[in-house]
Amino acid sequence: MHRIRRWVADHWVLAIGLMVLLYLFLPIAVVAGLSFNRPSSRLSYDFNEFTTENWTNLCGPADLCAAVGRSAWIGLLATVAATMLGTLMAFALARHRFRGRAATNLLIFLPMATPELVMGTSLLALFTSAGLQLGFVTILIAHIMFCVSFVVVTVKARLAGMDARLEEAAMDLYATPAQTFRRVTLPLVLPGIVAAALLAFSLSFDDFIITNFNSGNTVTFPMYVWGANQRGIPPQVNVVGTAMFAVALLLVLATNVRGRRRGARVA
C-alpha cells in the first residue's frame, strides 16, 4: 500500500503532464488519421477504410486547391508586408525616444485585444464607405493590419534582449552605422524576425472571421472549409491540415537540431 502511494506521489505530475499533452494533440491525431480515411458517406466522419487517395488526389474536390493557393498567396504577401513594417516599428520603439512613443506602444496592443468580430465589421464599414471593391486586396489589407501588431511585439522582445553595447563595439571597430546593422544587429535580431514572420503567416492563413466580412466573392481556404461544411467536408481538407502541421513540425525540429549541434560543440 505504502509503495503504491509512493509511486503515485512520484508520478502524478508526470501523469497530469501526459494527459495535457494528449488533450493538446488528440485533435491533430484525428485530423491526421482522417486524412487517410475513405468516408462511407459525405457527412460521415467515422473511420471507414484506409486509403492514400486523399493525398494523391488532393485537388479532386472542386475549388479546394484554388482556395489553398489563394490563402497561401495572401499569407505570403501579408507576411512580407507585415514583417517589414512591424520590424521597422519595433526598431523605432526599441531604439529611439520620440514624442508619442508610449502611446504607440499602447496602440500596438489594441488590434490584438480587439475582438475579431468588431475588427471585421469596422473594416467592412471602412472599405465600403471608401468605395473599395471587396476581394483579394481588401483581405490583404486587413491581414497586414492585424499581423503588424504581432510582429512588432515579437521583434521588440528580441531587440530588448540584445545588448546595446554590441552595436557600440561594432562602431568602435570601424563599422559604419550601415555595416553595424548588417553585420551585428540584423544577424542577432533575425531569429526574432523569422519567428514573427512564421506567426504572421499562420495568423493570416487560417483567419476566418475578419476575412469573412471583407472577402466579397473571394474564397480563401478557411472560407472554403466553412462553405464545404454545409454539404460535408471533403477528406482532402484533412490532408491540407496534416501537411500544414507536418511543415510546422519540421521547422521546429530543424531549429532544435541546429541548436543541439551548436550545444554539442561546447562539450
Binding site: R165, L166, L173, R183, V184
Partner: protein, 385 residues
C-alpha cells in the same frame, strides 16, 4: 617600444559632459603621454566611464575638446577614430566565432591578410587553437583575452579598457593584470584603463588619475599619490589613512607646526598642502609603530597614546585599532616579521611615526577625524558612471 613623444599624446581640455541636470564630467583637463599606461581611478558614478566614452566617441562632450596628437577628434564618430575599446563584460559578438570576432575590425577596414594577423594576435593573448569557438563556449578569462585581441589587432593609437577585469575572480584578475602589463610593454600602445580597484590601478599604471564627482582629485605616479595624497578623499580612497583634525600655525625651521588634541606635531614643509588654518594631519596605518610606553619611542618620532581595542590577524600583517584619549580609533598595520610579539587587546600602547611619513592636508572647517577608507563598490553593470 615607441619613444614617448608629444605627437601621439591624448589631450582632454576643459571637457564637460552633462546628462540633463546631472554633470558627469566637470571641466576636466588631462594629458596622457603616448605609450603610457594610464589609469582613471574612482568610485562608481565619478565620471570615469563617461570620460572614457568621450575618448572612444560613444559620447560627445557638452563643451571642451579631445585631441589626439594635433588632431581634434572631439566630434568624430567612433569608427573614424584610431581608438579601440575593451568593453566592460567584453561585448563580444555572440553570433561570430573567436576568429571572426578578432578579425572584425580588419574586415571593416578592408585589410587583406586577415588570417596571419589574427593568428599572431591570438598567439599574443595565448588563445591559439580557439579560432572556431563561439564566445559562449569560452571562460571569462578567455573572453577577456578575445576582447583584448579584438581591439589590439587594429593597432589603435589609444586602447581604452573599461573595467576589463571586473568580471573575473580574484586569482584570474591578478594573472590578467600581469598579462595586460606585459602586452602593453610589448606593443607600446597608450592604454587608458578605467577602474574602481585601487590596487589594480597601482600595480599596472604608470600614471594614475583619481577622480571624484567629475573632477580629477590628483594625478601622478602611483607611489607619489600614495605617499603624499593631495586631498582627504585621495588619502582614504587610495589605501587607508589616519587623518587627525588639527590647526596649522605656520612654518618654523622648514617644518609646519600642527596642533591637535593638545599635542604639537611638526611635519616637513614639502609634505604639507597647507601651513595655516584647519588641516588634517595624516599618517598611513603601516607607517605607525606600536611600543609599550613613551620611553620606547625612537628618537625624532612623534607619538600618540592609546589602548588597543581590536586586533585582526591577516597573515602578512596584524591590523590593530588603537583608541586615542579623545576617542578616535587609529588603524595600525604591524608587519608579521617576527620582530615584535603580538599585542593583546586592552593593552596601553604608544603609536609613533617618523615626521617624514606624515603629511598635512587641507581640511574643511568643522570636519572631524577620518580613519575609515572610502568604500569602493564595483560599478553596477549598465549604469553610466
Amino acid at each position: 617600444m615607441t619613444n614617448p613623444s608629444e605627437a601621439g599624446d591624448l589631450r582632454l581640455s576643459h571637457v564637460t559632459k552633462r546628462f540633463g541636470p546631472f554633470t558627469a564630467v566637470d571641466d576636466l583637463s588631462l594629458t596622457v603621454p603616448q605609450g603610457s599606461f594610464f589609469a582613471l581611478l574612482g568610485a562608481s558614478g565619478c565620471g570615469k566611464t563617461t570620460t572614457l566614452r568621450m575618448v572612444a566617441g560613444l559620447e560627445e562632450p557638452t563643451t571642451g575638446e579631445v585631441r589626439l596628437g594635433d588632431r581634434d577628434i572631439t566630434r568624430l564618430r567612433p569608427y573614424q577614430r584610431p581608438v579601440n575599446t575593451v568593453f566592460q563584460s567584453y561585448a563580444l559578438f555572440p553570433h561570430l566565432d573567436v576568429f571572426e570576432n578578432v578579425a572584425f575590425g580588419l574586415r571593416r577596414r578592408k585589410i587583406r591578410e586577415v588570417r596571419s594577423q589574427v593568428e599572431r594576435m591570438l598567439a599574443l593573448v595565448q588563445l591559439d587553437g580557439f579560432t572556431k569557438r563561439r564566445p559562449a563556449e569560452l571562460s571569462g578569462g578567455q573572453q577577456q583575452r578575445v576582447a583584448l585581441a579584438r581591439a589590439l589587432i587594429n593597432h589603435p593609437q589609444v586602447l581604452l579598457l573599461d573595467e576589463p577585469l571586473g568580471a573575473l575572480d580574484l586569482k584570474l584578475r591578478r594573472q590578467m593584470q600581469i598579462e595586460l602589463k606585459r602586452i602593453q610593454t610589448e606593443v607600446g600602445i597608450t592604454f587608458v584603463h578605467v577602474t574602481h580597484d585601487q590596487e589594480e590601478a597601482m600595480t599596472m599604471a604608470d600614471t594614475v588619475a583619481v577622480m571624484s564627482a567629475g573632477k580629477i582629485e590628483q594625478l601622478g605616479r602611483p607611489a607619489e599619490i600614495y605617499e603624499y595624497p593631495a586631498t582627504a578623499f585621495v588619502a582614504n580612497f587610495l589605501g587607508q589613512s589616519n587623518l587627525l583634525a588639527g590647526e596649522a600655525a605656520g612654518q618654523s625651521g622648514g617644518d609646519v607646526l600642527v596642533s591637535a588634541y593638545d599635542q604639537r606635531f611638526a611635519v616637513p614643509a614639502p609634505r604639507a598642502r597647507a601651513d595655516r588654518g584647519e588641516v588634517f594631519l595624516g599618517v598611513r596605518p603601516e607607517k605607525l609603530g606600536l611600543v609599550a610606553g613613551e620611553a620606547d619611542v625612537p628618537a625624532g618620532h612623534q607619538s600618540v597614546r592609546g589602548v588597543i581595542t581590536d586586533s585582526s590577524y591577516v597573515g602578512v600583517s596584524t591590523q590593530y585599532l588603537v583608541r586615542t584619549g579623545w576617542g578616535t580609533e587609529l588603524a595600525v598595520f604591524a608587519p608579521n616579521s617576527g620582530a615584535a610579539a603580538p599585542l593583546a587587546v586592552g593593552s596601553e600602547v604608544t603609536a609613533h611615526w617618523s615626521p617624514e611619513h606624515a603629511f598635512v592636508l587641507h581640511r574643511e572647517p568643522g570636519e572631524g577625524d577620518r580613519t575609515t577608507p572610502v568604500l569602493d563598490t564595483p560599478d553596477a553593470v549598465g549604469v553610466v558612471s
